[in-house]
């Protein structure tokens, strides 16, 4: 039995999600935005795992596993985009990526 109530886990998870969201919105650097996105995804994973623990349902862990794989794929593509953007613009500032056409 865990002594920590479920609401504590959920508050922590939402705190991480909120911090990540603030980072994505306020930072205009592509790398920092991606890092903040990772923080958001980790907050979601924490909420999933807390629910899994409290419901005693291990199949939720499979969902978190898949979220992790998707996050890894997202980072790989995002960082490749950062490199392409750096080659093209000479910066990774999201405000300078306003054009859809190269």
């Amino acid at each position: 039995m865990t002594a920590i109530p479920l609401s504590h886990w959920l508050v922590l998870a939402t705190a991480l999600f909120a911090i990540g969201a603030i980072g994505v919105i306020t930072r205009r650097n592509l790398l920092i935005a991606l890092m903040s996105l990772e923080v958001m995804l980790n907050g979601v994973a924490l909420a999933f795992l807390a629910f899994a623990r409290f419901r005693g349902d291990v199949s939720v862990h499979a969902a978190v596993f898949i979220v992790m794989a998707v996050a890894a794929a997202e980072v790989a593509v995002g960082l490749a985009l950062a490199i392409a953007m750096w080659r093209h613009n000479g910066s990774v500032d999201l405000d300078r990526a306003a054009r859809l056409k190269g």
Partner: protein, 176 residues
């Protein structure tokens, strides 16, 4: 009691690490932000262990603290970002107020969601059905039976992501 202390230490550390990723005094240097992110991931792995998600705690270290961080640091060093390229955290009072308001709303939603779970005490892991809760056997069983199709789709997604990343990051003109 000891469990509470560990939880709060890990929780505060995780939140501080996450803040250090986005806040200006720490995140001026891209590598500092990356290290703060690494600390966040590692502390989160400890929290996963507290939720007896043992397999996912190890995967958190392997995938996030290992692979993802190496990718980030590799790209930061490859791009050779200078300080002025890194962007500022443009914190206006309205943004901070908005952040606080968003957090309070999120906390309220979390409370309601937590209260709405019928069984608000943790499942007893002493019962035979939950003996190996969160271990590789249980999670692997779920992945290869009930979640077989999403699991296989994930492998295709990873393949597509690898090829996509290579194509996007390739030099213009392509002769390599």
């Amino acid at each position: 009691m000891a469990e509470q202390i560990v939880f709060y230490v890990l929780a505060v550390g995780t939140v501080l690490g996450a803040l250090a990723v986005i806040m200006p005094p720490f995140a001026r240097n891209p590598l500092h932000a990356a290290v703060a992110l690494l600390a966040t991931f590692s502390l989160l792995a400890g929290l996963f262990v507290m939720l007896s998600a043992h397999l996912l705690a190890i995967l958190q270290i392997l995938v996030y603290a290992g692979a993802v961080m190496v990718l980030f640091i590799f790209v930061i060093m490859l791009l050779n970002l200078r300080r002025q390229d890194f962007g500022e955290f443009r914190a206006t009072p309205w943004k901070i107020l908005g952040g606080v308001a968003a957090f309070l709303v999120a906390v309220r939603v979390a409370m309601v969601a937590g209260a709405s779970v019928a069984n608000s005490t943790a499942a007893d892991l002493g019962t035979p059905a939950l003996q190996s809760f969160g271990g590789a056997y249980d999670v692997g069983w779920a992945l290869t039976t009930r979640f077989f199709l999403p699991f296989e789709a994930t492998s295709i997604l990873l393949l597509v992501a690898i090829i996509g990343a290579l194509v996007v990051a390739r030099r213009e003109g392509g002769a390599r």
